[in-house]
Symmetry: C2
Subunit: 283 residues, 2 copies
């Protein structure tokens, strides 16, 4: 994944070089690469030609990283650290950080529609993939979730709104990562449905564990300051229901996710391993 990102990220030696440097800085700072791996594991689970899907996998990491860069901006969460190093705007300034985020969001679609992908995948399937990716990333998905998250900062929040934020802000992109792998890997309709269910359960699990780690996690291990949700008065599952209930919920969701894979053979083992890893991060 690291070498593919390095190969596929744009480099420009023109007057606009700093924007591609900033894009590269934020992406190559590390991260768990959960979304690209989910796409590839989703394709593996249905016996797809996974090696050829690397540009699509990278597109997910570009999209995820753009969302981090914009979320970290002073007008949003105003964070100084990310993945253990200064955030993009701390290094390159706000203007270039906004443009680097825009650049990565745009580049995700460039990768999905790149010649490599067009040669590897049936054109109609590729268009459908771009469509479900776009919906998960946009105002009906991640951007909608981030909007609600920002608007409800410091305000009392009910379980429905919290669930809306979780499902949209993080859940939608994680779920579509698996679904894109399924579609691009040539899944049958019932396989696609099952993998979509798996992705949705996993997405929610992931967000709950992330919120738990913001309370009990080790700053060095997770690469960003803990306690920022509490400081920013963010609504989280553990804040609303308590740590114990949050952990029980995460375990239930993990079981749901694994249950969705019950008709899959050993080729779904990577997906199962990722699901367990997500919950075990909190140990």
């Amino acid at each position: 994944m690291e070498s593919t990102l390095d190969r596929l990220l744009p480099t420009i030696s023109a007057p606009s070089a700093p924007v591609t440097e900033a894009m590269r800085y934020s992406i190559m700072a590390g991260g768990k690469r959960v979304r690209p791996i989910l796409l590839m594991a989703g394709s593996d689970a249905v016996g797809g030609n996974t090696e050829k899907l690397l540009p699509a996998a990278c597109a997910l990491e570009c999209l995820h990283t753009y969302s981090l860069i914009h979320d970290d901006l002073p007008a949003m969460d105003n964070d100084d650290l990310r993945r253990g190093i200064p955030t993009c705007h701390k290094v390159y300034g706000e203007a270039i950080a906004i443009l680097a985020g825009d650049g990565l969001l745009n580049y995700a679609f460039e990768l999905l529609s790149s010649r490599e992908m067009r040669e590897a995948v049936d054109p109609a399937l590729l268009n459908e993939t771009i469509s479900i990716f776009g919906r998960a990333a946009g105002v009906f998905g991640m951007i909608g979730g981030q909007t609600a998250d920002i608007l409800f900062e410091g305000k009392p929040i009910d379980a429905d709104t919290l669930s809306f934020i979780h499902r949209h802000k993080t859940g939608a992109l994680l779920a579509v990562s698996v679904e894109m792998g399924a579609v691009l890997g040539g899944a049958k309709p019932e396989q696609r449905d099952a993998l979509s269910k798996f992705g949705q359960a996993l997405g929610l699990t992931f967000q709950i564990i992330d919120d738990i780690l913001d309370i009990v996690g080790d700053e060095k291990k997770i690469g960003k300051p803990v306690g920022s949700d509490t400081r920013n008065q963010k609504a989280t599952y553990p804040a609303l229901f308590g740590l114990d209930a949050a952990r029980t919920k995460a375990q239930d969701l993990l079981n749901q996710a694994l249950e969705a894979l019950s008709d899959f053979d050993h080729r779904a083992e990577p997906l199962r391993a990722i699901a367990r890893y997500v919950v075990e991060r909190d140990r």
Copy 2:
């Protein structure tokens, strides 16, 4: 164009409603709709089924409007007025304005890959269209140009760098608007080349005229304060070469643009009319 934009823009009644309101606010504020019209005129010129391309035309306006919202942010050009009304961040705040820009950028790709487009156009042609649009919008196109524009603010600039900024910041998207119309309308290769040349010449003309209007224009007519380039020490063609040379250059480019259409029949008349209109805005 107005009613299609109104129909196709997303509306959400969820906790994230303000982001779609902000998107709609900035798009429906008006504007000349030059890019969508260029796409449709490009398709007309090659005898395409233009009516079916409305979502793609709207995608261009979404992309253009996102670039205005982000350019106007305090960290960028810090403008208070756009299209005659307060800028997006003045009304909705910086966080929502950033998200509304992201939402429109993302929505452009959602429209291009929408069911309507997938049913109207050959899948491989649609893939290719998304690809050329992505490249023109991203770091190799508009975002690259905007980056250079920001970085060279207040600095001495040579003709090459100015040309780089012009070709990328505004030229790339205007040129690709015509080219997308050509591709989606089913252009033959030589038609596509000619329309691409037309678009590039027109894009440059447009930017030079825009810069002239920022000096001599009527604030009420163009909907934003004049003189902002001078205040922000922006490099422009008239600033570097003088008003007379800028007008001569615009006229030369107009002639080049019209020349590129010489093998087209009356169906290219809308494109010719747009080209003349662009230059006549400065009268």
